[in-house]
């Protein structure tokens, strides 16, 4: 049996009626060892902030495990939430508080560098955009990452790596233009 999927539609400008949660940006609670603020701005093709986007993140725990039955390895039992959700503010800013995930074994061999999967929703996006955030202190792991290795342009590759920014990490999402973020077909 094969059913065609329900098509996507834009999130529109009024999702704040329900989607933002008080603890949405808290992938980990305040005070968690190793917690870091990861965030940036969402910008459009004119370089203007996108004040009505929703950014969501999904990631493994620091041991590289998911509290999920479809992770075929032993379950972590950690109950790690792994999920972050943050609407952008009037300046296009978003941020989550999280911890760096562990590296992951890749099916077929190889190891994926620590990363987060990211979904971007906004008015004007008829489907979500998917991208990834990698970590700037993982140069060696990043060099061996299968997804990064599949992107020939080093400048584009570099745009998937967050930048150290004070105590935190900065990851701007450019929907369009010279600095356009590489988006992923999932």
């Amino acid at each position: 049996m094969s059913l065609p999927p329900t098509p996507s539609q834009t999130i529109g400008p009024f999702f704040a009626v329900v989607l933002p949660w008080p603890d949405g940006p808290e992938v980990v609670p305040d005070g968690t060892p190793g917690a870091v603020r990861l965030g940036g701005r969402v910008l459009d093709g004119a370089g203007e902030p996108v004040p009505d986007a929703l950014v969501e993140t999904w990631q493994a725990d620091p041991e590289g495990r998911f509290a999920h039955p479809d992770d075929p390895r032993e379950t972590s039992g950690s109950g790690f939430r792994g999920f972050g959700r943050c609407p952008t503010d009037s300046d296009g800013r978003w941020a989550v508080r999280t911890v760096k995930p562990g590296p992951l074994p890749a099916p077929g061999g190889g190891i994926e560098a620590p990363h987060l999967d990211v979904s971007v929703f906004a008015r004007g996006l008829l489907n979500r955009l998917v991208t990834r955030v990698y970590f700037p202190d993982e140069a060696e792991a990043n060099a061996a990452d299968p997804l990064l290795a599949s992107i020939p342009d080093p400048a584009a590759r570099a745009r998937l790596v967050a930048a150290a920014d004070g105590d935190g990490l900065r990851f701007d999402i450019h929907l369009q233009g010279d600095q356009e973020t590489p988006f992923l077909a999932i």
Partner: protein, 250 residues
């Protein structure tokens, strides 16, 4: 192949349940000039293929503690009943293989019966309803079923083009079981005369448009009380060809 630093089996022996690729035209294009807001917000470079690995085939399993007692009934969340036509909206969440997606969080939001959202950005000069927030949440049951009681949202004008009006719709957000299945979409009501003029519904290839339209369902109707509409949501299914592993001992 050495073991990975995070324990367990090395990647070469890892089998993950991939998800089926989606056919061209299953979803709207990102570049859709008739919807003006897409102009500066769609990427111009080709998307980079992301094979499904562990992060993609897992996903947030949310819901515990996120759904309140009256979250599924948008007509009882305030002191009195909201104005408008009371309706029941129900359906199932299935994957592309027809399997129910149980225990998944469904979040909805909508305009009130007059076509106004409870949101600072909504400037439509239609009345707000003190008894209506337009926000709902529920978890699907083991059979993938969900059900909301609400009022039928009104059509409303927007500034996409001269005399632009959105057909009545309810926004839906779904997680499914994996990051690959995340979906945000809109449900419409059958026979809405605004369909031909709406560039958002119109962005969906014609053959797929009906998948966004609910149907009047007498079995969902509560006699003497509320009309019922039914709408099934299909998230993408599993890939038939898994990563095979000649020495899997899982």
């Amino acid at each position: 192949m050495p073991d990975t630093p995070n324990g367990g089996k090395a990647g070469a022996r890892l089998v993950v349940p991939g998800y089926a690729p989606e056919a061209p035209g299953a979803h709207p294009p990102l570049d859709w000039p008739a919807y003006a807001s897409t102009r500066l917000r769609h990427p111009r470079r080709p998307l980079v293929p992301l094979p499904h690995r562990l992060t993609e085939v897992t996903g947030p399993l949310l819901g515990e503690g996120r759904v309140g007692e009256t979250d599924h009934d948008l007509t009882v969340q305030h002191g009195g009943e909201p104005q408008g036509e009371r309706i029941v909206v129900e359906g199932r969440v299935l994957d592309g293989d027809g399997r129910p997606v149980g225990g998944t969080l469904v979040e909805i939001w909508q305009a009130n019966a007059a076509g106004r959202y409870r949101h600072d950005g909504d400037r439509h000069p239609a009345p707000l309803d003190p008894n209506f927030s337009g926000a709902g949440r529920c978890l699907t049951d083991a059979e993938g079923r969900w059900r909301f009681v609400t009022v039928k949202p009104g059509a409303y004008p927007w500034k996409n083009h001269h005399n632009a009006w959105r057909p009545a719709h309810i926004h839906f957000s779904l997680f499914g079981r994996a990051f690959t299945q995340r979906l945000i979409t809109q449900m419409y009501f059958p026979g809405d005369p605004l369909f031909p003029y709406d560039p958002i519904l119109g962005s969906v290839p014609e053959a797929a448009r009906e998948r966004l339209v609910s149907r009047l369902e007498l079995d969902a109707t509560v006699p003497e009380w509320a009309l019922g509409y039914r709408w099934d949501i299909v998230l993408r299914g599993r890939d038939a060809t898994l990563f095979e592993d000649e020495e899997d001992d899982a």
